[in-house]
Subunit: 245 residues, 2 copies
Amino acid sequence: MNATIETLLNHRSIRSFKDTRLNQEQIDTLVAAAQQASTSSYMMAYSIIGVTDEDKKAELADITGQNYVKENGHLFIFCADLYRTTIKADKKQYEEMLANLENSEHFLVSAIDAALAAQNAAIAAESMGLGICYIGSIRNQMARVDELLSLPKHVIPLFGMVVGEPAQKPEQKPRLPKEAVYFENEYSRYEEELDTFNETIAAYYRSRSNNNRQDSWTDQMLRRFQTPMRMDVTEIVQNKGFNKR
Amino acid sequence: MNATIETLLNHRSIRSFKDTRLNQEQIDTLVAAAQQASTSSYMMAYSIIGVTDEDKKAELADITGQNYVKENGHLFIFCADLYRTTIKADKKQYEEMLANLENSEHFLVSAIDAALAAQNAAIAAESMGLGICYIGSIRNQMARVDELLSLPKHVIPLFGMVVGEPAQKPEQKPRLPKEAVYFENEYSRYEEELDTFNETIAAYYRSRSNNNRQDSWTDQMLRRFQTPMRMDVTEIVQNKGFNKR
């Protein structure tokens, strides 16, 4: 097993960091790695905001309910960005572009582009001995985050990522059995494997050192999905010119 | 610079492969790497189909218009998958889950989860000396690809990835200047950097060994966005239970 695959397989999310800021060289390396990811038809349809302002970090920590959004080595916000493609467009061209700017296809393209870039930054960070955690909960108040970062139309904040020197080494969280995720040639049934996984997860939750509880993966998902969540994302992204048709 | 960052920065998409299939151990390693990526709230909201059937590969090559979708070491299709969360739900629970299953929030979550997993597989492959290329053009006929892979409701095909022993070493495609992608604390203007980049790209297109042409990045984007593209994706994903509210 090579060092890169070791890094990939060794991933765990880090939610507690030493009080050390990333230096400019580290930040530049992570951004360069992010930029080298594949991108759909060369669109490079994302932007990254590094948040260093203490007031903004404090507000983002409030919004996400996660104190490590304030206390970390660096905070990145990854955005879907189609605005860049419009900068040189005149009025007529811009109007002709709207069908693509606003359709589901390019909502997908920009979200996927941003995620590929982010994962490259995550892997680069982990290869340097840093820890990372994705922050989906900026979507708790997507409109406020959008405003806080002064994002133009056709740019929306998708998720954050905190990076820093780990101050913890949590256990790795078990993943689904391969048989429930990877299929050959067509989607297949995996009820039994899911049952086995539920038992694994129940044992994991019973035994883990922090927050031990009685639970299974499917129970957790059933509970989670039964409470409507972030239903305002639809309207917010549409107001920003995404996913409207 | 460590070996992982070297791999990340050395990325180029490979579109021509030697006639060697990936072996089971290689495939297992790529899937394991994919599975270890971060996932939103433990949802693991994706599935991966490995396509080995020659007829299916031939049809996918037709759909995408790319012969390397047929001729490669292995073809993966990455899917957004919320179906897995519903398997243990009774009728009442399922109905209560629908608001989340169908909203934009979980369309984003599952697309991002799939992309993070895919990028881990891509990096793992490249670290092993293999080449990769993402295949967004399966969305040319998303409904047919969906059918070909027998995907249940709440599962949609997002993109493919071909992997194999490279039979080419293309030049690296220039990326946007960092100043046009990475901002501190708020989105900033970058018109000048975009002009400089356009000059870089024009020189790249004039000088490259294959397909040299007169072009700039913004011209390319203007042309691309002025022709409505894959407008049917909206309806197809909605028919599969995604992005409906």
